[in-house]
Symmetry: C2
Subunit: 160 residues, 2 copies
């Protein structure tokens, strides 16, 4: 079976303190304090940011363009067992689409959002911005499978 | 500025009870009971499902291929004011990437996951599966901006 291909076009760029994959934290809530990052939106898409002001958290979807070779399984260094890529947040995915729930701290400029809790490389292409909705996105009782004993329990809320 | 294009390839297909956009619920937690849906994964990607068993919730990322014309702003029928697409979950986005936090109810077959809380059209191409992690994805105190008064507060947990 041949599946169709679809084309994504960046709507902007993410800026973080991390210059390459090796520098990135394990997740965006691990650094303490969590550094300020920015999401720059291309001029032609700025109109879509209307009404974003009073959301406290956003879902940022991005393209992890430094991933060259995907891997269906891998052995996490902190675990030592073979795990499937769809059971992990490893960036080396068939479609290298990244997702972060970020704290939204307002506009630095009409085309630039201040955010915290990103963990991607500086310059990562941004594909979409969605409002985070507690009614559909928040599952506090969720169980984390094989990642449970390895969870970073640091619910970092401090600011740099 | 010309931004690069990236190509996504479906890893599978989502099956839901909804045959077209007009049939879809406002969100996946609105139908009561929430119907059982399935995510079929193409054979070549099944290896990536390893270790998925004991997660209770997943993030499914998909391509809303019935969207033909994106719109940067729109007037929601339940609101009556002009809103930016990035402040809403409207499918008519520059990149029609959909995201749902679903309850994972085990495997119907090695290539088929039983899930609940999808709200997309039957046959929607699946792009990625990620484990839902309470440590990075759960923000119970998040404020929902202009959507706050329109929130569907139904925290549906019933099963059909």
């Amino acid at each position: 079976m041949t599946s169709p291909l679809f084309t994504v076009r960046p709507i902007g760029t993410l800026h973080t303190p991390w210059r390459n994959i090796a520098d990135c934290p394990r997740n965006g809530r691990q650094p303490d304090p969590a550094p300020l990052c920015t999401a720059h939106v291309l001029t032609e898409f700025v109109g879509g940011l209307r009404s974003l002001d009073s959301f406290s958290h956003l879902l940022l979807i991005y393209w992890m363009d430094q991933v060259t070779v995907p891997e269906l399984t891998f052995i996490p260094p902190f675990d030592g067992q073979t795990r499937g890529v769809f059971s992990a947040r490893n960036p080396r995915r068939p479609n290298p689409i990244g997702l972060s729930v970020v704290a939204f701290e307002g506009f630095a400029a009409p085309d630039c959002l201040n955010v915290r809790f990103l963990d991607c490389v500086d310059g990562t292409p941004l594909l979409d911005i969605k409002p985070y909705l507690t009614t559909t996105d928040c599952e506090p009782a969720a169980s984390m499978g094989w990642l449970e004993p390895h969870a970073t329990r640091n619910r970092n809320t401090s600011r740099s």
